[in-house]
Amino acid sequence: MNTVVCPQCGSSNPDKNEFCQWCYAPLHPESTSGFGGSESASIDLPDWLKEAGPLPPSPTEASDEELPDWLLSLRQASETSDFGEEIQPTSGEESFLTPDLEKILSADKDEETETLTQPEPLAQEDLTEWISRLQGEEATEEAPFAAESTPLTGQSEEELPEWLKALREQEEPPVPETYVVEGEATSPLPEPEPFVAESLPEWLKDLSTLSEEGKEAETLPTEEVAQGPEVEEAGLITPEAIPPFTEIPENITAWFEETPASIFENRSSGVYESTPTPEEFTPTTELPPTDEIPEESPEVIPAFSEEDYAAWLDHLKIEETLEEGNLAAQIPAFVDNGIAETAPSPETIVPPFIESELPEWLAEAESPAEGAESGVTPAAQLPEWLEAMRPVEAVAPTPPHAEEEDTRIETSGPLAGFQGVLPGEPEALRYSRPPIHAVRLNVSEKQRAYAALLESLVTAESTPTPLRVQKQVTAPSPILRLAITIVLFAILITGWASATPPSALPTLFPAEAVAFATTINNLSAQHPAPRVLVGLDIDAGFLPEIHTATINTLSDLMRQDARLVFLPLQSNAPVLGLAMAQEAAQQIPGYALSEQSVHLGYLAGETTGLAAFAYQPRLGMATTLEGQPAWDTQPLIGVNSLQDFDAILLITDSGERARGWIEQLRPLFSERPFLVISSAQAAPYLAPYVQSEQINGMLTGLLGSILYTRLTPKVGGENLALWSAYQWGSLTIALLILLGALAGATQALFQAQKSRSKR
């Protein structure tokens, strides 16, 4: 890997580096844009000027006729000065390179190093006219535009911070001119030494050196001076290595003499797009005599053509109009942005040039600057080679650090008024006592109550509540289950076999049973051949419970020549209905079952089916169990609605299903009796309907069968064996439950005693 020696600190750096990785000094002369890089373009000299610094003046300065007006005025102003009198006026027939300059330029390269190490101030007489004028303007403290264009020097003596005044006093005599360059809007604001040393372009440093007649050379660090040979060894030409105009050694002059004009052509035609290699500066070819160079040759001149001037001056003008002002020209690049915001107002700024004195091209350049006042900054018209030389940051649409730009303005210390600098004093020193706020919230009682409620809710949610310990319910002991089974079976069989109930047959009758029996047996008195809808909503499993009551009731109805219409709502109900009807009909020999009764088809949908049947029975159930049209049968002739039935008899084992019947049919059948034969398990559920008279009579379970038999005496209607088993069984179960409860209570007492004794 190739290494490059830093001209600043002398350390080795990779060849690809542009800046020293140790001291951050530019390693290549082209990259000496300072820290600010492109940001410092407004105050740093353009790159072409940096490069052109040591070069001979362009032919445009050869004659006064070709000089712009503003430059002429400047020249005149300098001629009027005392110092300017010492300078020979520029003659129009001066060659491109004066003899002195030729002498300097013809010096050997080795002597250039000597010149660097021991700057030898040249006599004013040796200087070319323009250099001497320039020097004269800088040496004298009355540079006209400096005086005119520096509001800070003139008007803001009082406005300057104390530290700046102190600095000015220390630096007497002030040398603001040192930094003034023709054509640049500058301010003679004295800068602290560090800024001068670190951030100013080298050629400006050289100019300042020139203005102070070698005084600056004495103050140059020896390190910087001593690096000349190293630079030479490395074959690099850095701005530091290039002597100021006044100190151009002879070797450089010679080099210029030997340099072909094509080099200058290349400079103007974009050769400098790439970093110039040391070879480009090495006088490998013989330069033609200077007098052979045509004065106005376009090939030679274009390095500083008018457009280029206009471009960079335009750029400067724009920035000036943007109120970066004169101060910006002297401010290091890294504080450039801060200046832009802290510069004085346009009214207070004295323009560096009187408008009438401005050259045309500069006057034209004002128009975009005016546009910039409205916030639109026009792009600078840079020549191609200059554009190409700009650092990448300048070309980039948005500087990567633009968003992170520190907009804070320093308010104290030596950097007061600057923006984006590191804080001059620690933040902690700025700490002020925080305002005291009332700790107590201004809440109303209602809000406080809500808050308390919310807090309680949150607390209740987060507070662990002990889980209720579920007692493990174990399966009943097989012995207990077997014992109960044996006892119960034994009692039932004994009761069944003995047929001796523990009590006499019922002589007291519940009202609903009496109403049931009365209604059934009086139907024919009110309606001859009463038409009765028999709802079969029963499972086969509970049929034995109500079998007897159902058979007796149906036979009583048949005895009255009732027309029975069976409507099944359970899947096995059709068969059960057929079987019970046949069994009941066997008790009534003269009853024509097939003619007087009809079995409608199975009604699906439970409640929905009942609703359909209740509102339009013919549509609700159109066919019989055999699939024949139901409403053409004899029992249903003339029936169009539910109210054409004389009574409804519901046989059910479920209180829930009975509720469906009552809810759907009873509202449309309010004037006729609604009777129910139900299982004992549905009786409590249906009791409210009995009390509300939605059920006009009801028989429940085996007891209902016995009661009905007792109410409507029939031969052999009372099955004493069943009744006896039933009563004995009921009493036994009641006794078992009682014993179980007592056993549980005793166990609880024992456990309580046991726990008490343990305590």
């Binding site: 308390a452 409620l453 807090e455 309680s456 809710l457 607390t459 209740a460 097989p478 089974t485 079976f489 039932l492 069989i493 069944w496 076999a497 499993g541 509970f542 034995p544 419970e545 079998h547 899947s571 096995n572 059709p574 088809g601 199975y602 699906a604 409640t607 929905t608 609703a611 159109a622 066919t623 169990l625 699939g627 084992d653 509720r659 469906g660 009552i662 809810e663 759907q664 009873r666 509202p667 299982s679 004992a680 398990q681 549905a682 409590p684 559920y685 409210p688 009390q691 509300s692 008279e693 939605q694 429940t700 379970g701 007891l703 069943l722 088993a725 039933y726 069984g729 009921s730 179960i733």
Partner: protein, 218 residues
């Protein structure tokens, strides 16, 4: 002969099921599985024979029937059958929605006019002049009080108070406690009715077994 065979089958099945009182056994399982199979088969036959054919198929095949109208329940029925497939079961939600919608309206109507209005009115019947009597008044008061307290017991809403959880107002708490008494008594009566019903059926089975033994025994 046939009746005797069927009686024997019934006898064996009854014994097989009752054998569960001793413990689970294969006979019980065979009886149960057979019973469920026969019940399901019979139920399917009933549904097809008594409902689907006369209500759906016959009108569709009948020339005078409004076939267009019956196409809708046919389509809904086919969608409902899609529930047998896991992939297509989502199609069954449409007929189920129809069924539920109709059922909801029917239930609302029945609950309003069949139970709510009538039972509320019945609660005031004992206090009407026609039925007024000291015992009737007493009965009416007990019924009304019991009904109200029972309903209050099922009111589970209350205010959440800090540290106490959900708390009902004192009078509601008091009424609910009384309602709890009524509910306990009522559920006791229900349970007693269930026991008596099952006892009666058990006695009927014992009666069948004993009669069968008397019949089948030589």
């Amino acid at each position: 002969m046939t009746d005797a065979l069927w009686s024997l089958i019934a006898f064996v099945l009854t014994l097989a099921v009752l054998s569960y009182a001793i413990g689970d056994n294969p006979l019980f399982r065979i009886a149960i599985y057979t019973f469920i199979g026969i019940s399901a088969g019979y139920f399917a036959a009933i549904l097809i024979d008594q409902v689907i054919i006369p209500r759906l198929i016959t009108p569709l095949l009948s020339p005078s029937a409004s076939v267009g109208l019956m196409a809708i329940p046919l389509l809904l029925s086919l969608l409902l059958l899609a529930r047998l497939s896991r992939r297509l079961s989502f199609l069954g939600s449409l007929p189920m929605a129809f069924l539920v919608g109709v059922g909801a309206a029917v239930i609302i109507n029945g609950a309003l006019f069949g139970t709510l209005f009538t039972q509320v009115r019945a609660a005031g019947l004992p206090f009407t002049p026609a039925q007024s009597s000291p015992s009737g008044w007493l009965t009416g008061i007990v019924l009304l009080f019991g009904t109200m307290t029972t309903l209050v017991y099922f009111q589970f809403t209350g205010r959440r108070e800090p540290g106490k959880g959900i708390v009902r107002s004192p009078w509601v708490e008091w009424m609910a406690r009384i309602g709890q008494v009524f509910i306990a008594i009522t559920l006791g009566a229900f349970f007693a009715g269930v026991i008596l019903a099952s006892l009666t059926v058990l006695i009927g089975r014992l009666d069948f077994i004993l009669q069968s033994i008397n019949t089948l025994a030589p």
